[in-house]
Amino acid sequence: MNADKVLDAKGFACPMPVVRAKKAIDELEAGQVLEVHTTDKGSKNDLTAWAKASGHTVVNMKEENGVFTFWIKKG
């Protein structure tokens, strides 16, 4: 999947993944996709809830070797 911006938030604990994601997505235009990498287990629910509440869409998500990858389309 093609992303317009990639955010590496691996190793960060709450609330950093969401704070960083918010900063990163603010720099994108509506319709563009942000790819986020995290290792915080809470971020799975956190980023999904945050995206939904902020009007963005989680287009895809995967978990591999403890790394979560999200593709979030800006709303």
């Binding site: 709450c14 950093m16 704070v19 918010k22």
Partner: protein, 160 residues
Amino acid sequence: MSEQKKKTTIILFSGDYDKAMAAYIIANGAAAYDHEVTIFHTFWGLNALRKDSTVPVKKGLLEKMFAKMMPRGADRMGLSRMNFGGIGAKLIKRVIKKHNAVPLPQLIDMAKEQGIKLVACQMTVDLLGLQQDELIDGIEFAGVAAYLADASEGNVNLFI
């Protein structure tokens, strides 16, 4: 996305490191949620806003005693449980580092960066004998009416 921003207000009454940390994590999270966030510091919570260096100001004896006995800045605050005279606070900071969590002073810096409104309750600033110069820059001073103005429009209102 043009509708009015949601609001979060937090009253930080506690001067405990752990409780203040919870307050500032929620505040920073709410800012990432694009909420307008206000943290209203009162009583012991004001210590989170103190500069960590001593500031030469004129004070009475009682005020001097208060200033001595209260933690000077966020990093000197103790834990609400298992503080053991400050050893607990030292240990928790080690654990925070180990887990790559954000320590309180950095959470406060981040809150300012995210445009969170930090308010000091003027009445308790006076009660505790604190002066504006002893508190960090970029904060506002207000009272209950200003808090209620924010809180009555608040979607999330917390007392910590």
